[in-house]
Symmetry: C2
Subunit: 194 residues, 2 copies
Amino acid sequence: MSVTATIPSEGRAPARERLLAAADELFYAEGVQSVGIDRIIEHAGVAKASLYNLFGSKEALISAYLESRHRGALERIKAAVARHRDPRKRLLAVFDAQGEIFAEPGFRGCAIVTATAEVADGSVIDKAAEEYRAEMLALLTDLARDAGVAKPERLARQLHLVYDGAGVAARMDRDPSIARCARAAADALLDASL
Amino acid sequence: MSVTATIPSEGRAPARERLLAAADELFYAEGVQSVGIDRIIEHAGVAKASLYNLFGSKEALISAYLESRHRGALERIKAAVARHRDPRKRLLAVFDAQGEIFAEPGFRGCAIVTATAEVADGSVIDKAAEEYRAEMLALLTDLARDAGVAKPERLARQLHLVYDGAGVAARMDRDPSIARCARAAADALLDASL
DNA sequence: GCCAGATCAGACAGACCTGTCTACCCAACC
DNA sequence: GGTTGGGTAGACAGGTCTGTCTGATCTGGC
């Protein structure tokens, strides 16, 4: 389990990282089902055997890709939250961060939402998604509690709805500005919960 | 273009209907990408040649399936709306209907949202989705206007967010009760818009 | 009876998929 | 200098995919 980080032969990232980068790019842009292993390894400049040595299966690579995407998004959101001290601003910062993410070139919705839509129920991917969603809901619940609302769980669920909806709408309507709409809705829902 | 409805040989629906029924069942349950033509025709009891005579391609069959799903959902929602005269109740009826749909066995989220997540950008399916989303937004805008809010377009966008989010959450968390949460959020957003 | 059109069953082509396997290369370490 | 381990390159197996094609069968209308 120790990732001893054998220093790569200078200038080139190790195969594992190159594979994850390629997976991130291709899986996200075209879907985990549509993109085959061959394209991943070609894009990463890695031999097929290396992929199977390092990850074991395509599904495991998808899991790692989703994990990394989720970590990245949550990190960005938490960083945006941390830039404020006022509880209301902290809560709304979630949607500010969402707006930034939406505006990035190549944005195509929440990777986890789209990936679960591609695979049948009960896959390993579903299990990962469950975990990730719980984490997001917990964050929103904390922020709602800090904002002093009477029923933080209740508001958190509502905000989670708005968060999910914004992700879907931004992708399907190709409209990053929907995040401002989500922010306004969150603001109103917070007011209504006080 | 005239669907002259040649009466089927008694007891058996015509091939087109059986294909659509099979597509509806399998595509929805397992995804349009994962389900192959062979399984569709086997389930429908139809020859492969008939499918290609009637629809021309798998993509066209998917389009027809999405069209039918969308029609059905919108019809149900409009029927629920029509059961009320009070503008607020009419607006909230959208989310009541959503709750009914969520509670049905085999519910797996909005077919259009999941289908667009499966295909690359720019496909025919994307174009259809655009149309369907506009229709939904128009309905919400009408309801918001009738409820007498100052900026109906603004509220409609927010409600659309909640609607989309509820669909995603109901699928991913396997929790139909999220519709009540969405209804409450819609109620609060309506209040805040008056 | 007979024909036209719809439908059926299934082989087939050509592409693509995941995952395995062999064989070679090269750098680091003892 | 030899060994070990991670990496590369690519063939291969066995399966699945969409879409086409051939030919048989059924049914309604004349």
